[in-house]
């Protein structure tokens, strides 16, 4: 694969949801190992993730992941991308841990018994073999988050998209998950409204009203973002709150 087509490429991509233009002619070529997407509530971060993952189609422009269209070429997209949604309860589809873990593998063409066996091996490797038959409702929120991560990792995607991966978790759990993320060999795209959590990324993109407001190394983007947020926070603008 040439350098021209590898990575995540958006060319003048726009997304319209329920009549409003949520992403407005975004062009990006993402190849770095650790990418952060910063922005306020409603700035279009989750929508950017969804269009990259091929969950919505752009109304204009194109999206290519390693050369293929994630919306139409689903098989290719599955091995290219995994997503960790913000809320594990929006991601978990099955009543028990083993079914949840096996599902993605079966989707990739593995037979169910083999998929279950692989899920078991993965859990054992993580020291959590006792989870295998647990109902997902018996896991705590942090544990459910972790389960979702395992399910994504099992599918061995080359890139993982994380939507506010640490929101709502307590500090020790945040620390542990952050360490786990840091150790992953995959490319990570992390969405957040908290600049601190992308301070060590290779590249940070600041979204504002569906457009790219800034794009560069964290040392450059984060101070600008923080200053802007502090400025807005001081005002008591009606429209925003």
């Amino acid at each position: 694969m040439s350098d021209q087509t590898s990575g995540i490429i958006l060319s003048s991509a726009s997304v319209r949801l329920g009549g409003t233009l949520v992403l407005d002619t975004i062009s990006l070529h993402l190849t770095e190992a650790r990418i952060g997407i910063l922005g306020r509530n409603g700035s279009g971060k989750t929508t950017l993730l969804r269009v990259i993952a091929g969950l919505v189609a752009p109304v204009a422009g194109t999206v290519r992941i390693d050369g293929s269209d994630p919306f139409t070429e689903r098989k290719a997209a599955l091995s290219a991308l995994g997503i960790l949604f913000q809320n594990p309860d929006h991601q978990i589809l099955f009543p028990t841990v083993d079914e949840e873990l096996a599902f993605g593998l079966v989707q990739q063409g593995m037979a169910q018994p083999e998929a279950i066996a692989r899920a078991r091996t993965a859990l054992e490797a993580e020291g959590r073999a006792h989870w295998i038959k647990s109902p997902v409702t018996a896991l705590s929120q942090g544990q459910r988050h972790y389960l979702c991560l395992l399910a994504v990792l099992l599918m061995q995607p080359r890139t993982i998209l994380l939507d506010e991966p640490l929101a709502g978790l307590d500090l020790p759990t945040q620390a542990r998950l952050a360490r786990r993320f840091a150790a992953l060999p995959q490319r990570l795209v992390t969405i957040t409204h908290d600049p601190a959590s992308v301070a060590r990324a290779d590249r940070v993109i600041w979204l504002e009203g569906g457009k790219v407001a800034a794009d560069g190394p964290p040392s450059q983007v984060i101070p600008a973002f923080t200053a802007a947020m502090a400025r807005i926070g001081e005002r008591d603008a009606d429209a925003d709150l």
Partner: protein, 199 residues
């Protein structure tokens, strides 16, 4: 989730689910062909014997499953005492109790996954309507997964109501609850697509 499958394992657990279901269909049809109390009583005795082969604990939990039938037996008895048609009444009660007990026996001795497999097989003709067996399996898993999620949501919504009102919310929780179900459905669809879809 809790199922009605008995935790006391007996010989009938080893009989294939399809065989049990086929036998059940035949015997139930047979029951409805009988109209006098004597053969029906014999059938009920046979059913009781079937339960007895599972031991005391099994038989007792089978008896518990018949409890919802009591009011029905009461009303039939009263009705037929009043009309004087006692044999007719006895036949109705015997047939009902026997049919329900036999069906429960199959339920109690069949694993959920085996039962589902038979249903998936039975659902194959529906494929022409675009319902794949795989889709059915997925839908079943999703429903079981979301029942507790939805219950939680309902509790939260009623608490939000109680936090602002001394009265009970009653049916009013249904609006936000249905809305939550619709939103959950959209998000689950997306999560499904993110991992390969329903195809």
């Amino acid at each position: 989730m809790l199922t009605l499958t008995s935790e006391v394992r007996i010989w009938a657990h080893r009989v294939p689910a399809a065989v049990k279901l086929a036998l059940l269909a035949v015997t139930t049809t047979g029951l409805f062909a009988m109209s006098t109390p004597a053969p029906l009583a014999a059938a009920l005795l046979a059913t009781a014997a079937l339960y007895a082969t599972g031991g005391q604990r099994f038989a007792l939990s089978g008896l518990r499953l018949l409890r919802p039938l009591w009011p029905f037996i009461g009303v039939v008895a009263l009705w037929h005492l009043w009309t004087g048609d006692l044999t007719g009444g006895a036949a109705i009660v015997l047939r009902m109790v026997c049919a329900v007990a036999m069906a429960n026996f199959v339920t109690m001795t069949t694993q959920l996954s085996d039962m589902l497999a038979v249903f998936q097989w039975l659902a194959r003709p529906f494929q022409v309507f675009g319902m794949s067996p795989r889709g059915l399996a997925l839908a079943v898993a999703l429903t079981i997964r979301f029942i507790p999620v939805m219950l939680d949501r309902m509790t939260q919504i009623s608490e939000s109501w109680s936090a602002r009102s001394p009265r009970r919310p009653r049916w009013r929780v249904l609006v936000p609850a249905t809305l939550a179900a619709l939103d959950d459905a959209d998000r689950a669809a997306e999560a499904l697509r993110a991992r390969g879809g329903a195809g």
